[in-house]
Every structure is written in C-alpha cells, then in structure tokens.
C-alpha cells in the first residue's frame, strides 16, 4: 500500500468511526442551552428581538446536526475533510467571520448616529445657553 492509499484508508477510518452517543447528547444539550440563553436574554431585555433569529437558527442547526450526524458525515466527505468535527469547526469559523462583519457594519452605523446625536446636543446646548442669557438680559 503506497502513501496515498494509506492516507485514503485512514480517512475512511476516520469517516466511518461510529458516532459517540456522549458527543450527540453534549451537542443537543449545548443547542438547547443556547435556545434557553437567547430566550432568557430577550425576556430580560438584554437582547433585542431582531437579533434572535440568527441565534435560534444556529441552535436549530446544532440540534439537526446532532440528530443527523450521517448528513454531516456526507458533507465532510463532499468537502474533502477528514472528520465531521473539523467540518463543524470550519462552518463555525465561517459563521463567526460573517457575524463579525455584520456587527462591524452595524457598529459603523451606530457610531455615525452617536456622532450626529452628540453634535445635535452640542448645537442645542449652545442654543439653550444663548436663550437663557437673552432671558437674563431682558430681566435686568
């Protein structure tokens, strides 16, 4: 058996590795904990409703993957990875990059709004001070 065949054989061994029941339950528990955390934060007004779909979708995807590891195995085979866990890490990283970019865009918008608001405060404060001074002058 040459090196390439050995590697292919090794990869098949990794891919055909039987599912660990413990890993499945761990993934399920984490997904449900994530759903609970999202709902808890919404109830406590710590997370706005419009930010929840993405996290609930992530939880649903985790639940789905924990129940159908065979599909994850197929995906792993399709993208050329060795183990389902590395596929999960890869997808997780892609998700994190996308969500960071999304938040950077939202942050840029929020910064602009904060700057405009602070400028508006400065202009209004000057106006109020001017009116107050005029009122004092009129009283004198």
């Amino acid at each position: 058996m040459n090196d390439a065949e050995t590697l292919a054989h090794l990869r098949e061994l990794f891919l055909d590795n039987p599912d660990l029941e413990a890993a499945r339950w761990l993934a399920l528990s984490i997904s449900l904990a994530l759903v609970a955390a999202v709902l808890f934060l919404v109830r406590r007004r710590g997370l706005r409703e419009e930010y929840t779909p993405i996290w609930l979708a992530v939880s649903a995807a985790l639940v789905f993957v924990s129940l159908r590891i065979d599909l994850l195995r197929e995906l792993t085979r399709a993208i050329g990875a060795w183990t389902p866990s590395s596929t999960l890490f890869f997808l997780g990283e892609l998700f994190l990059v996308a969500i960071c970019l999304n938040y950077a865009v939202r942050l840029s918008r929020a910064s602009l709004l904060i700057k405009n608001l602070a400028q508006e405060i400065a202009l209004l404060r000057a106006q109020v001070e001017k009116l107050a001074a005029r009122g004092e002058d009129a009283r004198e």
Binding site: L112, A118, Q119, I121, L123, R125, A126, K130
Partner: protein, 228 residues
C-alpha cells in the same frame, strides 16, 4: 465665522483667542470643545467665544463638522477654520477669506509650501505630504498642502461637508476629493505657520501609519463615489 475645534487646549487657547480679538476680523468665533477634560470650554466662553460642547470626545473632524452645522444653522456665508494649538496665524484670516468673498472659489487652503515660508517638517511627514500631494494630483487636484487645517469654506462646501460621509477623525485629501468631485473650486494661498505647541500631533508616531492606511481607503471610497 471662525471655527476652532479644541480638545484639552486650555493652556494654549486664551492666547490664540486674544490674538484673534486683536485682529478685529469681525467674525463670530466658535470654539468646538470636543469633550475636553480641562477648562477649554470655560476659558473660551470667558473670552467671548460661542462654545459648542460635545458631551464626549468625537474626533477632530467631528469637531469641525459641528462648527459647519452651526454655521449652516445660523446662516453663515462662509467659515474659516483654524487649529487651537497656535500653528495658524490669525493675521492670515482676512487673506484666506478674500478669494471666497470675491467669488473666485469655494474652498481656500492656507498652504505652508506654496511659497517658501521657512516651515520645516520631519523626514517622515515630508514623505507623507509628498505622497498625498501626488495622490491629490492623480485625481486632478493641484494643491501643495492637502493636510493643512487652516482653510476658508464657502456655503456650498459647508453643505457638502455637513453630510454623513465627512470623517470624524482626519479630514484631508479624501474631503478635498469629495469637494472636487462635486465641482467645487479649490484654491491655495500662502500662509505662515508655526510649529505646533502641542506635545503630540495628530499625525505623529505610529498614528501616521494608521493615517496613511485610513486615508488611502477613504480616498478610494471618495473616488468611487462613496460620498453623500
């Protein structure tokens, strides 16, 4: 109207305001206090200036823009902007305003390099300036001092610069390009500048690397029409 963005300028501002007063320009002096932790706002108010106070530090560009917004609100025809650190000479204000008042252009830049004034820059800053002069030239703007903060701006420029695309930190070549793209005429006059009395400048040290990077991106965005 004369706009002076200031951040922790209490040690330098009173002397500058006294020199401006002595010039008797007749302009309303507006000091934009950009969230100073010292007595900048109080000293400016005591000297008779209109004070616009940011609730917290927003950046040099945002300070200028607050001044522009105020000028538009009160119906000013033009604005002269100058730094609070004593670099710019108030005796040049009238000369800076003259081309605007004659209707010859929309934006006048006070240049340190149009004629020999003896102003000296370090090697890195000279290199940076040459780079930005070349960059501006590539877009058809012929200026010798694109980073000068001593400028006179007409109403059309104020309306443009009051928009959301105006940067909060360093408005330099990118905003010149925006003005140029909107068909506004830019002109330079020679002015004398003194060394900044501030210990650190906006473009010093590691900041200059960030500045060049940010400016290149901003110029690219402005050239692609990413302006309002």
């Amino acid at each position: 109207m004369l706009v002076i963005p200031s951040f922790n300028e209490a040690p330098r501002l009173p002397a500058l305001l006294a020199r401006i007063e002595a010039e008797k320009t007749g302009l309303e002096v507006v000091v934009v206090d950009d969230g100073s932790r010292d007595a900048t706002a109080e000293l400016a108010a005591r000297a008779g200036a209109t004070v616009l106070r940011h609730p917290f530090n927003l950046g040099y560009g945002a300070g200028l823009q607050t001044g522009y917004k105020y000028a538009l609100e009160v119906g000013a025809r033009c604005v002269v902007q100058m730094d609070a650190d004593g670099q710019h000479d108030p005796s040049d204000i009238r000369r800076l305003l003259a081309p605007l008042e004659r209707g010859e252009c929309d934006l006048v830049i006070g240049s340190r390099f149009l004629a020999p004034t003896g102003y000296e820059m370090g090697f890195t800053r000279t290199l940076g300036r040459r780079f930005f002069v070349g960059l501006a030239r590539a877009f058809g703007i012929r200026v010798t001092d694109p980073t000068s903060g001593f400028q006179a701006l007409g109403r059309r420029v104020l309306e443009l610069y009051a928009g959301d695309s105006f940067p909060s930190d360093y408005p330099d070549v990118d905003v010149l390009l925006t003005a140029h793209r909107h068909g506004l005429a830019v002109r330079e006059i020679s002015v004398e500048m003194h060394a900044s009395q501030r210990k650190s400048t906006l473009h010093g040290g590691l900041r200059s690397v960030w500045y060049v990077y940010k400016m290149l991106l901003a110029v690219w965005a402005a050239s692609a029409g990413g302006t309002k």
